[in-house]
């Protein structure tokens, strides 16, 4: 009789140990549905990126490497232009800072939520993209799911979608013979859509108009080459100058 009791005891111990593990599973189950829109979006844009890289002579190995290490959607598109001109890593570095400067404000918004998350925190910060930020800043984990695990799975899933889609695009690129001219418009369309999403909130509209007006003025005055830096400075100046008016 002792053996079955022990067996049950062991089984119970193992079950309760598993009972700690299912929190990971519960976190994954809670995170996955939230990331489905990102999966579809990244599938489209990541594939397009892999294809564009392939079209410019950079195979799936390079595009996937860029996605895995560089991981920054819009900047990776911009970087294609840097890969087909004279070698200039300093420009790539500075342009990455300018194009991704908006990340600074994602970080500022996540200072509190990413507090005290231990080992996963560096990973969460490394892969804090526009889409992951929109999810982790908006969603709360369900009961029984740790904040840390919820953020981790959202971040990991989004990251995997992007890297996976890039590889797929790069691999399929060799077999796709149709004309990809204009495919890169997907990026413009993404920003137009994100702009519209911002526009939905009335308090964002003045800032949205300031962004377009300052960028258009910078383009007209300083030209395409110096657009990003001059526009960032101009936008900052106008936003800080109009702070009292915009602070409602």
């Amino acid at each position: 009789m002792q053996i079955p009791i022990n067996a049950i005891g062991n089984w119970r111990t193992q079950w309760s140990r598993l009972g700690e593990k299912p929190n990971q599973l519960a976190a994954l189950k809670a995170a996955f549905p939230a990331t489905v829109p990102v999966m579809t979006g990244y599938f489209c844009l990541g594939m397009a990126y892999g294809l564009l890289m392939e079209a410019n002579g950079y195979g799936p190995l390079w595009s996937t490497l860029m996605s895995a290490i560089g991981f920054g959607g819009s900047m990776q598109y911009v970087a294609i232009t840097l890969l087909v001109t004279a070698f200039d890593p300093l420009q790539a570095f500075l342009l990455a800072i300018m194009v991704n400067a908006r990340h600074i404000f994602y970080g500022l918004s996540m200072l509190d939520k990413y507090k005290g998350l231990g080992k996963v925190r560096p990973f969460l910060i490394y892969v804090l993209s526009d889409e992951t930020f929109s999810l982790v800043s908006t969603l709360e984990p369900p009961k029984g799911v740790a904040r840390k695990d919820f953020y981790f799975w959202i971040s990991l899933l989004d990251y995997s979608y992007w890297v996976g889609a890039t590889a797929l695009g790069g691999l399929l690129g060799k077999f796709i013979t149709f004309d990809t001219t204009g495919l890169d418009f997907a990026l413009t369309a993404l920003f137009v859509v994100l702009f519209l999403e911002q526009w939905k909130k009335k308090e964002n509209r003045p800032a949205g108009i300031i962004g377009i007006a300052c960028a258009a003025a910078s383009l007209a005055v300083f030209g395409a080459e110096n657009l990003v830096i001059s526009a960032m400075v101009l936008i900052l100046a106008v936003l800080l100058g109009g702070r009292k008016r915009l602070c409602t």
Binding site: L83, A96, S109, A186, F191
Partner: protein
């Protein structure tokens, strides 16, 4: 490939370094026990919308407005994105629809 493998790797690392600085900077500047100044909180609130506007313009920076086709494909496709998004509010549909129209315009109509 225009660049050598080593140069390509250098560009990838440069892009990654620049990108990571923008992601880590706030966490370096304001450690876990510090509250950011009010002006920083204000910028964090208004900058996202402004940056989206900048990025739309950035994508159109190489369009020649003074010569044919005068940016007509870009403007038509953007209009399609706006209308699709107002109609359905589906991010993927808006992006896919606008991109498909743009590809058709530059490959078939304004080729």
């Amino acid at each position: 490939m225009y660049l050598t493998p080593l140069q390509t790797l250098a560009i990838i690392l440069a892009v990654a370094a620049g990108t990571q600085i923008t992601r880590w900077l706030p966490f370096w500047m304001f450690p876990e026990n510090k509250e950011p100044p009010a002006v920083v909180t204000y910028l964090g609130r208004v900058l996202p919308a402004a940056v989206m506007g900048l990025l739309v313009v950035y994508c159109l920076k190489n369009v020649t407005w003074t010569a044919a086709p005068h940016g007509i494909p870009e403007l038509l496709a953007i209009l399609a994105v706006v209308l699709l998004h107002r109609w359905r509010g589906n991010v993927l549909l808006s992006i896919a629809g606008g991109t498909a129209l743009y590809m058709a315009l530059v490959q078939l109509v304004f080729a």
